[in-house]
């Protein structure tokens, strides 16, 4: 697609429920990232997928969080047994790390609009 697409854009869920957030990266991008951002705050790295390599999961805050990337494209971030502290914007991004190009698109990370999660 033309840009990184995330769904749902907004999600309100009850404490204890599981949620799935979807990210569709820019076509052809080999790297995909998930970040979390609390209201007006900085970015918290969650997980990074690069091609067929094992993902870097070092940012996942607990074992309630998991993510997968199927077929090297779409990714799903799953939060099990949601807690109120999970409320945040979940941002997905992708980049074309397969290029050494100095063009605008090379080596640049592009973000989606985010999925706003509220746990009540």
């Amino acid at each position: 697609g033309a840009g990184v697409s995330q769904s749902p854009s907004n999600k309100v869920t009850e404490k204890g429920k599981d949620v799935e957030l979807r990210c569709d990266p820019i076509s052809g991008h080999t790297a995909l990232y998930w970040y979390r951002q609390s209201l007006g705050q900085g970015l918290e790295f969650l997980i990074y997928f690069q091609g067929n390599s094992a993902p870097d999961k070092s940012g996942l805050p607990s074992d309630r969080f998991s993510a997968e990337r199927t077929g090297g494209s779409v990714s799903t971030l799953t939060i099990q047994r949601t807690q109120q502290e999970d409320s945040a914007v979940y941002l997905c991004a992708s980049s074309n790390t397969g290029s050494h190009s100095l063009s605008l698109s090379g080596n640049t990370i592009y973000f989606g609009e985010g999925s706003w999660l509220t746990v009540v």
Partner: protein
């Protein structure tokens, strides 16, 4: 390990005045450096990047940034600020090809009319 510092949480500037948002980094090897802007309730938008070549990089909306290797800095600048520039600005670094991006904590820019 890579790291990015944005020493100012908040920058206030009057409309029409020049603005600077500071960024310093720590990385092994040659850095790739980026600036992103986030408007309220939106995702991050790419502004500009330094990969190699000329130390002064020009980007979107009249912004520019200067790479200074000796000071390990990549400050964002604009000659004349607009109220519409008010937003949250993030600096990011990437050490080498294929590695993860590291973002700074963000600086909130307020341009006062």
């Amino acid at each position: 390990a890579q790291s990015v510092a944005q020493p100012e949480d908040q920058v206030n500037v009057a409309e029409g005045n020049p603005l600077t948002v500071k960024c310093t980094y720590s990385v092994s090897g040659n850095p790739y450096l980026f600036w992103y802007v986030q408007y309220p309730n939106r995702g991050l938008q790419f502004l500009l990047k330094y990969i190699t070549g000329d130390n002064l990089v020009k980007g979107s909306y009249g912004f520019e940034a200067e790479f200074n290797k000796s000071q390990t800095s990549f400050h964002l600048k604009k000659p004349s600020a607009l109220v519409s520039d008010s937003a949250l600005y993030f600096c990011a670094v990437r050490a080498t090809y294929g590695q993860n991006f590291v973002f700074g904590p963000g600086t909130r820019l307020s341009v006062l009319p």
